[in-house]
């Protein structure tokens, strides 16, 4: 039985998977609204969303979306995305390729004494860079997989975490070919 129908009486027992989708779109007004409107309108999840123009001359953008759902829902999400008129291609990086995923985070930590030096030591261990400092605070820049960033936030919490800004996941396939 498939979800998404009024007659799917019982909850589906399908396993929920996480997929990273790369969506190549024409960079026209409203294209992002179409994509996210599709997700909200049809009740799909967005775990992470990244968008930026990637080929200026061709007027093309890449939207990277991390989503969760049963295999049937993921299949439906891809088909629905493919139906949008300005969408060139939908690539499921979790299936069609071995992909590398990275996220960038800026994180502000405020403290003094032992907390301040501990924050700096941990930042060093995580290969975070200090991009702003005052006598009582740091802003660290940290790049990595989502769980690494999550872990760093957990560590900074008792050391004076003030606020966080994250880009969301950017992803690309390994190897010499374009996807």
């Amino acid at each position: 039985m498939q979800p998404g129908s009024v007659y799917a009486i019982k909850e589906g027992k399908d396993v929920v998977e996480q997929h990273t989708l790369s969506i190549l779109v024409d960079n026209e007004p409203g294209v992002l609204a179409r994509v996210i409107g599709l997700f909200s309108g049809r009740g799909y999840n967005i775990e992470s969303l990244t968008v930026s123009e990637t080929e200026h001359l061709k007027h093309r953008s890449r939207i990277t979306i991390v989503t969760r759902g049963s295999p049937a829902v993921i299949e439906q999400i891809k088909a629905q995305l493919g139906r949008l008129v300005p969408v060139h291609r939908v690539i499921d990086l979790s299936v069609e390729a071995t992909a590398i995923e990275r996220e960038l985070m800026l994180i502000k930590v405020r403290g003094s004494g032992e907390h301040r030096s501990e924050a700096l030591r941990l930042a060093d261990a995580f290969r975070a860079r200090v991009i702003d400092a005052t006598t009582e605070s740091f802003v660290f820049e940290l790049t990595g997989k989502t769980d690494k960033l999550d872990q760093f936030i957990v560590l900074m919490q008792p050391l004076g975490l003030v606020e966080v800004s994250r880009t969301g996941v950017a992803a690309i396939a390994r190897g010499p070919e374009a996807t």
């Binding site: 009486i9 299949e75 493919g82 300005p86």
Partner: protein
């Protein structure tokens, strides 16, 4: 072909270049420059409606009955928001429509100007695509793209929103020849290996069935012809959705009638028991499948659809073929002939034997006795009296719609216009106007209910003005019959607000609009009254007083499977009150 002209001139020129002959619209401040251009030409006929929703549904009826793109023109703000229902309706039923909306001048956008609305924002989820044109030099290209997107692949509605200053501005017009779409190229030809596999699966079947939908009609007359050829070649029984009626002739012996919630006993049971199901341009809607985990449990399923998102959406299929129905059927018929395939004859005979036993239940039976007109009898009589004529039927939404689908026989595609997916009351009259505009000499009948017809009754005025002699055949039971039926099924017969206490006198109403009103109250009046309607050369409101409490059967109660139908003969008050269990009550 490039030429200098104003934006408003471009709109008219683009419509002419696209072969548009009829346009349904309503003027207003933000489209006055376009209306000024329309005034100065005579290639396109503009049909003035009385409410923008009427323009949208008329364009839908026009499109559905001709296979061409329907076009509507409305102003900004309320003009555009009134189009939301027809656009959604067209999206659900895959009707090609181009809707041109006026917008406030570009420098006013975002300022909450008079009659400003975020039209592209509002219509984004109810169109296939939409555009806000900010530069007059893009307008020609966008208009031609709009027609291309509306009619290509799975057809649908599009909106082109044109600010008033763009309509006045002068720029370069790009003709249709130069437009090639950057991204939108739907797959028309089906995958060869999938088609071969499907043909072999069909050839090995013992209990096959064709389940066809609106996609066959959308694909064009050739698809219907090929479907008929394949069905006759193979000897396989065929049923269809509400939207697919007419693609296969209802008078043929292989026709099982419509399937689904109010489908026939034989169609639904054959779907349940089949071993190979061939879904052609049909999307396994919940009105069709009933309870999904009990839907045709033993069958292998083949699905042909031009929209990849329709395949495996509600029901997983064994072979999905993405492509145009006509194209794929042509290939299937070729392979079937080439391979000299045939269904195992004894198996097919046994299968038809089973089907005949289901047929023998006569699930569309009803009892007409006395002088009270049964609604089913009214439709059957209307059908008998119009057979052999060049007839188009539209409907509103409710019991009358189901009775029309059950008791009116359709022999050809594009003859049946109904709001299937969205279920829009008020669709039928404006849709009939759209049909009549395209087929001036045809007989166009809106089979209506007394509640639905009041939702867009103002369009009778449109019909009078444009001399479109549509016939509105109202099955008047003074109830919102389908609402009442569900209240009986779900809510202990508490008929909350489903009775209309103050219906107008439809005969006088017709006369007030300048049309003709006819009433039939007794069985003995019916034949003569219908003859009178058919002989009338003007729009007619036919007030057919029918049995008030008749219900629509057979029925798959919500949450039940195809083989758990409730038949008319078993539908006692008790059976109706308990037909739907607790789980099913939450469903629609």
């Amino acid at each position: 072909m490039t030429r200098q002209m104003t934006g408003a001139e471009m709109v008219v020129q683009a419509l002419i270049d696209q072969g548009v002959e009829h346009l349904f619209g309503y003027p207003g401040g933000a489209v006055l420059p376009i209306y000024d251009e329309l005034f100065q030409q005579d290639k396109i006929q503009h049909i003035l409606v009385r409410h923008e929703a009427g323009a949208g549904h008329a364009a839908e009826g026009y499109a559905r009955s001709t296979g061409k793109v329907g076009v509507a023109l409305v102003t900004s703000g309320p003009g555009a928001t009134n189009m939301v229902t027809p656009l959604t309706d067209a999206l659900m039923d895959s009707i090609p429509m181009v809707c041109i909306t006026g917008q406030v001048a570009t420098h006013l956008i975002g300022s909450d100007a008079f009659q400003e609305a975020d039209t592209v924002g509002i219509t984004r989820p109810c169109t296939k695509h939409n555009w806000l044109v900010k530069d007059v030099n893009d307008l020609g290209r966008i208009l031609h793209e709009a027609f291309y997107v509306a009619r290509s692949g799975r057809p649908g509605p599009v909106v082109v929103d044109i600010p008033k200053d763009v309509q006045f501005a002068t720029g370069t017009y790009e003709g249709p020849a130069r437009v090639e779409h950057k991204t939108y190229h739907p797959q028309v030809r089906g995958d060869q290996s999938a088609i071969r596999a499907a043909v072999e699966m069909i050839a090995k079947a013992k209990k096959p069935i064709f389940y066809t939908g609106g996609g066959v009609v959308n694909s064009g007359p050739e698809a219907s012809r090929l479907l008929r050829e394949f069905v006759r070649l193979s000897g396989i029984p065929i049923t269809s959705t509400l939207m697919g009626l007419g693609a296969y002739p209802a008078s043929d012996k292989q026709w099982l009638g419509m399937l689904g919630m109010h489908g026939t006993f034989e169609a639904n049971n054959a779907m349940h028991d089949c071993d190979v199901m061939i879904a052609v341009g049909a999307r396994f809607d919940d009105r069709i499948t009933g309870r999904l985990d009990a839907f045709s449990p033993g069958s292998k399923k083949i699905q042909i659809d031009i929209d990849p998102s329709s395949v495996n959406k509600n029901v997983r299929v064994d072979i999905g073929i993405i492509g145009d129905v006509g194209n794929v059927l042509e290939e299937m018929v070729r392979l079937w002939r080439e391979g000299k395939h045939s269904i195992d004859a004894p198996a097919l005979k046994t299968w038809w034997g089973e089907i005949d036993r289901w047929r023998a239940r006569k699930s569309l039976g009803y009892r007409q006795s006395g002088q009270t007109i049964m609604p089913q009898y009214a439709i059957e009589t209307l059908y008998k009296k119009t057979r052999g004529r060049d007839t188009y039927i539209t409907t509103e939404v409710g019991q009358h719609q189901m009775w029309a689908a059950q008791y009116f026989g359709f022999e050809e595609p594009n003859r049946w216009m109904t709001s299937g997916g969205l279920g829009t009351m008020g669709y039928g009259l404006p849709a009939a106007i759209g049909v009549q505009a395209a087929h001036r000499d045809a007989l166009v009948i809106d089979i209506a209910g007394d509640a639905s017809i009041l939702m867009n009754i103002q369009e009778l005025s449109t019909a009078i003005q444009h001399e479109l002699p549509v016939k509105v055949f109202i099955l008047n039971n003074q109830y919102m019959g389908m609402v009442r039926q569900w209240q009986q099924l779900l809510h202990g017969n508490r008929l909350s607000h489903s009775y209309t206490d103050a219906l107008p006198d439809f005969v006088k109403l017709a006369e007030a609009y300048g049309g003709v009103g006819i009433r039939a109250e007794k069985v003995s009046d019916l034949d003569g009254a219908i003859d009178e309607m058919l002989a009338t050369d003007k729009p007619v409101l036919f007030d057919c007083r029918v049995a008030n409490l008749a219900n629509c059967f057979p029925m798959i109660p919500s949450g039940k499977a195809h083989n758990e139908m409730l038949l008319s003969e078993d539908a006692t008050d008790e059976a109706i009150a308990t037909a739907i269990d607790e789980e099913g009550k939450a469903l629609v």
